[in-house]
């Protein structure tokens, strides 16, 4: 069984988690996993071209450089994509210094309430190329699964001067909305493991990276938990 994990920088923690599991002898030896990660900005305007053998996904950064295309092959492999549910670009936005999602407006009279539709409109614009990519891969018969990144870190609100419940609510609205877009296409989602976050919605400190400047990635323990879910999902899919 070969599992392909590709997408944004959150793939880094998954790779380290996988190495951790493999070194600990915690996974079956016949599993092969290939990782491909690039900066999340390369996925914002991704484009897909179909060939006889697969799909070439362009890796261009607006106003920046171009990476070699990522190639999704037409075979029986399952591709796990990390990127569409990455909510950090929204929840760290400076808009939240003066505004808040309506659902938490009751506690923030000094902030201007925003409707869910307004936030979803931003989300639509943000993920439109990735949703188009998903549609093309799905239409081409590719087995695709989307991976949810870690919930926001507890340190993040302070780093960006945003109130914790405002940040968490914004993140949730984004993830719920984009999950809906993915779900209505019949694409499964590997959810953030329940044990990695608190009731407040923030990632538990034990799953946060040591680098205190990092505001959104998970650490190796987080990666290992997600990889277990991915392997479980892939095994089940193979059995089915």
């Amino acid at each position: 069984m070969t599992i392909k994990v590709f997408g944004d920088s959150h793939v880094g923690a998954l790779r380290r988690g996988w190495e951790h599991l493999r070194n600990a002898g915690d996974v079956a030896s016949d599993i092969e996993i290939e990782f491909y990660a690039s900066d999340g900005r390369y996925w914002l305007e991704c484009d897909v071209k179909e060939t006889e053998t697969g799909f070439h996904i362009s890796q261009r950064r607006k106003g920046g450089d171009t990476l070699e295309d990522y190639v999704v092959r037409k075979n029986d492999d399952t591709y796990f994509l990390s990127s569409p549910l990455h909510s950090a670009p929204l929840y760290r936005n400076r808009v939240w210094k003066t505004c808040c999602p309506w659902a938490c407006a009751e506690h923030h009279d000094d902030l201007q309430a925003l409707s869910s539709s307004v936030i979803e409109s931003w989300a639509d614009h943000q993920v439109r190329h990735r949703i188009q990519m998903i549609d093309k891969l799905r239409a081409g018969g590719i087995s695709l699964v989307v991976i949810e990144p870690p919930k926001p870190l507890k340190r993040t609100p302070k780093m960006f001067g945003i109130r914790p419940d405002v940040l968490i609510t914004a993140s949730s609205i984004y993830r719920n909305y984009v999950s809906g877009l993915i779900g209505e296409r019949g694409i499964p989602i590997v959810r953030t493991p329940d044990e990695t976050y608190e009731d407040t919605g923030f990632t538990k400190s034990v799953y946060a990276p040591k680098n205190m400047k990092d505001y959104h990635h998970g650490n190796v323990l987080f990666g290992a938990l997600v990889m277990k879910k991915i392997i479980h999902f892939a095994s089940r899919a193979t059995c089915d």
Binding site: L90, N93, R94, V95, C99, W102, A103, A105, E106, D109, L111, Q112, A113, L114, S115, S116, S117, V118, S121, W122, H125
Partner: protein, 353 residues
């Protein structure tokens, strides 16, 4: 033999039709407004019927202190912000067609009025009945409507307290009113959302005295929270999309606009902090021969808007020149390209063929 001296001998050129109008092109009038408000240093807010959107855009594009007290979140594109009713006016209240609506909004802002029916439903989505056009697909729940309204009212309250000049465009005399608590809506229930019920709502066609009383009550209220506030009135030249009266729509339009024009003029004559700017006359007056209307004879074409604003700023030399703010330019180009403005009332003729 000396000529008789008459009162008119001392009247300026603008008082004589031949000199002021008959011998001039409609773009060459002078001294149209009786007095020019000093807009140079004032914080300016706009509200009113859909034509007021053009005034707001033009003010925003100048180096003036145009107020946007409920701004779009910066992550929205200009076109999306416009779609959600941001930056159309100084706050996100949508079109305020009647003076009654304005007065009730003011009262609600300052806690002396609470409408009985705020939420309208349509196809499982929810709308703010007082501004049903601001969220094109509606809100997800009644709670969301109420949370956004509370936040909106706080923005409007601050706007009323801070403004220097309030530019208000009177639009309609006809409106639908809730019979129990007298709340007046900008659009008939059932057009965007809600359900028309003859037992629950009634048509009001406001007359001169009630419009004047409402405006004076509003103006008194405004001055009580903002003693230095000044008001600039205009009347929308956009005809009614439909009338709910028995009259022909042309007759109903003439009635509405005549009453509004009379109220605006008298208020400006009677109250020292109220002025009138004749955008209505510039567009509707027969010297323009109807050329400032689109072929449907209702929408004002971009040249008409430009004409109005050129007079507006000619009388306000301190208004400064236009500047190129990206969002402003984008929003202006959207409106100009499509001849588009937000107008809930225009939805009334959606069943016409």
């Amino acid at each position: 033999m000396s000529k008789d001296v008459t009162f008119y001998d001392s009247q300026p050129d603008k008082a004589f039709w031949r000199r002021a109008v008959g011998n001039r092109h409609c773009s060459q009038f002078e001294s149209l407004a009786r007095e020019a408000l000093d807009l140079g240093s004032a914080k300016i807010a706009t509200a009113g019927s859909c034509f007021a959107q053009h005034i707001g855009r033009a003010l925003r594009a100048r180096d003036l202190q145009y107020m946007d007290y409920e701004p779009a979140p910066a992550f929205l594109s200009a076109s999306e912000a416009d779609r959600f009713g941001y930056s159309v006016y100084s706050c996100r209240y949508g079109n305020i067609y009647t003076v009654r609506q304005l007065w009730q909004l003011f009262q609600e802002c300052f806690g002396s009025r609470k409408p009985k029916e705020i939420v309208w439903e349509s196809n499982g989505r929810y709308f703010d009945a007082m501004r049903p056009g601001i969220e094109p697909e509606g809100f997800g729940s009644p709670d969301e409507v109420l949370a956004l309204r509370k936040s909106h009212l706080a923005c409007v309250r601050r706007m009323f307290e801070d403004l220097g000049v309030f530019v208000f465009t009177m639009g309609l005399t006809e409106a639908w009113t809730h019979v129990e608590d007298e709340t007046t809506y900008p659009i008939s229930p059932g057009v965007i959302a809600g359900k028309y019920d003859a037992q629950k709502y009634r048509l009001d066609n406001f007359r001169y005295q009630s419009i004047r009383d409402d405006f004076l009550a509003f103006a008194d209220g405004l001055r009580s929270v903002n003693p230095h506030a000044r008001i600039l009135l205009t009347v929308s030249p956009v005809p009614l999309a439909a009338t709910a009266t028995d009259e022909h729509v042309l007759v109903a339009t003439t009635y509405s606009k005549s009453v509004l024009r009379a109220v605006a003029g008298d208020l400006a004559s009677d109250i020292d902090y109220i002025s009138y700017f004749p955008s209505y006359e510039i567009i509707v007056g027969h010297p323009s021969r109807g050329m400032f209307y689109e072929p449907n004879l209702r929408a004002v074409c971009p040249a008409g808007v430009e004409q109005v604003m050129s007079y507006f700023f000619a009388d306000n030399p301190k208004a400064g020149s236009t500047h190129k703010d990206k969002r402003t330019v984008d929003a202006a180009s959207v409106a100009e390209d499509e001849g588009y403005e937000h107008c809930e009332e225009a939805l009334l003729d959606k069943t016409e063929t």
